[in-house]
C-alpha cells in the first residue's frame, strides 16, 4: 500500500512542484491531442487483435474436429447411400457424432449465396453428413473404406481450407499487436519531444531548483506530473471516442462472418479504461527519462 502510494506520488507529483514550472500555453494541447489520436487508433488495433484472436480460436477449435461427407448419387439411391455411410460411421472408431443434414438445413446454408427464391428441390444437390471426431479418427482409413464401399461418398476434411484461414487470422492478430506497439512507441516519442522542449524552455527554473537544493526526482516530478496527466486526459478522450465508434459499427448479419467479430465482447470492454492508464504510464516514463537526461547537464 505504501509502495503504491509512493508510485502514485511519483506519477502525479505534487501541485507545488507543478507550480514551479510555468504553464506552457497551447503546446499543452498538442500533447493532449497526440495522446488522444493515439488512443483512438489503439482502440481499433486492440479490437482487431481481439477479434482475429477469437476467430482463429473458433476456426482452430470447433473446425479441427469437424469434417463433412458428401454423397452424390441419383435421387432414388441417395437415401440408401446415406444410410450405408452412416452404418460405416457407426463402426468406425474415433467418431463422436455423425448427422445427416436434412434438405431444409442445406437450403438454409445455400440461401445467403443463391437467394431465397431458388427452387433448390429441382437441382440435384449432394447430401451432406456432418461428422465430429473425438480427435482419434483415422481420416485416411475412413476415406479408403468409403471409396471401397460407397463410391458416391467423398470424405472432406476441413483442414485444407481451415489452415490458411487460421494462419491469416493469426497474422492479422500479430499485425494488430504490432500496431499497438508502434502506437505506444509513437506516443513515447511524441511525449519525449514535448518534454524535451519544455525542459529546454525551463533551463533557468531547473538551474534555480538545483541551486536551492532540489533533488533530481523533485525536478523531474515537476515535469512528469503535467505530461502524465495530459497524456492520460488525451487518451481518455481518444479511447472513449474509439470505443463509441466500435460500439456503433453497423451490425453485419450472420453471413458477415469475419466482420461481426470486429469489436469488443464482454470483458474485452474492460481493456478500454486501461488505454489511458497505459498512455499515462508511457508518458510518465518518457518524461522521466527525458528529465533525468536533461538534469545531467546541471550540477
Amino acid at each position: 500500500m505504501r509502495r503504491l502510494q509512493a508510485l502514485l506520488d511519483a506519477m502525479w507529483g505534487d501541485r507545488q512542484a507543478d507550480r514551479v514550472v510555468p504553464p506552457t500555453g497551447h503546446t499543452v494541447w498538442l500533447t493532449v491531442l497526440t495522446s488522444g489520436a493515439m488512443a483512438f487508433l489503439a482502440v481499433f488495433a486492440l479490437a482487431l487483435s481481439l477479434a482475429t484472436g477469437r476467430l482463429a480460436e473458433r476456426w482452430g477449435d470447433s473446425l479441427a474436429q469437424a469434417s463433412t461427407i458428401r454423397v452424390s448419387a441419383p435421387a432414388e439411391q441417395a437415401d440408401a447411400q446415406v444410410e450405408a455411410v452412416m452404418a460405416i460411421l457407426v463402426t468406425t472408431p474415433g467418431i463422436a457424432d455423425a448427422r445427416a443434414l436434412d434438405p431444409a438445413e442445406q437450403a438454409a446454408l445455400l440461401e445467403p449465396w443463391l437467394g431465397p427464391d431458388l427452387p433448390l428441390d429441382t437441382i440435384p444437390l449432394p447430401r451432406l453428413i456432418e461428422v465430429t471426431s473425438d480427435g482419434s479418427l483415422d481420416a485416411e482409413g475412413l476415406r479408403l473404406r468409403l471409396t471401397a464401399e460407397v463410391p458416391g461418398a467423398v470424405y472432406d476434411d476441413h483442414t485444407r481450407w481451415r489452415e490458411p484461414l487460421v494462419a491469416a487470422a493469426d497474422r492479422l492478430r500479430a499485425l494488430g499487436w504490432t500496431a499497438l506497439a508502434l502506437i505506444a512507441g509513437t506516443l513515447a516519442a511524441m511525449v519525449t519531444l514535448a518534454a524535451q522542449s519544455a525542459l529546454a524552455a525551463n533551463r533557468q527554473v531547473i538551474r534555480v531548483l538545483r541551486l536551492v537544493g532540489a533533488r533530481d526526482v523533485y525536478v523531474a516530478r515537476a515535469f512528469t506530473r503535467r505530461f502524465t496527466l495530459r497524456a492520460a486526459l488525451g487518451a481518455t478522450l481518444g479511447a472513449a471516442s474509439g470505443g463509441l465508434a466500435v460500439a456503433f459499427l453497423p451490425a453485419a448479419d450472420a453471413a458477415g462472418g469475419f466482420l461481426t467479430g470486429l469489436g469488443f465482447q464482454g470483458a474485452g470492454w474492460l481493456l478500454l479504461p486501461l488505454i489511458p492508464i497505459f498512455a499515462g504510464g508511457v508518458a510518465f516514463l518518457a518524461t522521466r527519462s527525458a528529465a533525468f537526461r536533461a538534469l545531467a547537464r546541471f550540477e
Binding site: 507545488q16 514551479v20 531548483l209 541551486l211 536551492v212 537544493g213
Partner: protein
Amino acid sequence: MIELRGVGYSYGGGNLLSGLDLELTPGSFHFLTGPSGAGKTTLLKLCYGDLKPTAGAVTIDGRDSRRMDRDGLARMRRRIGVVHQDCQFIDHLSIHENVALPLTVAGRDVAVEAANLEQLLGWVGLSRRANALPPELSGGERQRAALARAIIMDPDVIIADEPTGNIDWDMSKRLLSLLAELNRMGKTVLVATHDLALIRAAKAQVTARVLRLAGGTLSAGTEL
C-alpha cells in the same frame, strides 16, 4: 566546515586557480577580494560544490566534494546558504514563493514555517514587496531577497558572491550589517567583493579575515 587543500581549477584552458589552501572554521567571517576575472566566483562555486576541483580536494562537512552524488549535493546545498552573483530567481513566482523555495524543494511544509518566513522578510525589509515578482524589484531588493532565501533553511554557512555588486552605498551597508548580524549568531560567512570601502566599513561590526585572490593564488589575509 569547508576546507580546501591544494585546490586547482581549470575551465579547460590554462589553470585559473592553483595550490589553494583555505579553511573556513565555524563562526568565522571571510572577505574574498581580487580583481574582476581573478576567479572569485569560481572559488566560491568550489566551496559549495557547484564545481569540482581539477586538482587537490575540497571537503565540505568532512566529505570530499568529488565523491558526492547528485542527491548528496542537493542535501549539502540545504545546509549552505548561497547568495549568487546574479541572484537566480524563478521569475514567475512571487518573492514570497522564491524565498520559501528551499523549504518547498526540501519537502518541508511552508505553512508551518509561515511565521518564520514573515519574520525573515521583515528582517530584510521586504514585507511589503512579498507578492511582487523578481523582475519588478530593484537591484538592492533582489539582493536582500536572495539573502533571505539563502538563510531560510537556517544554514551553518552563508556564502555571498558580490552581494553589493550593483546597489547603492546605503543599501550595501544595510546588507553588510545583515551579514554581520548573522555572523554574530554563529554562522560562518564568506563574502566575495571587490569593494574595499565595504571591507573597511565592516571593520566596526565584525572580526573578519581578508583573502586576496590574484594570479590564481590566495595571499594571506589581513585581520580586520
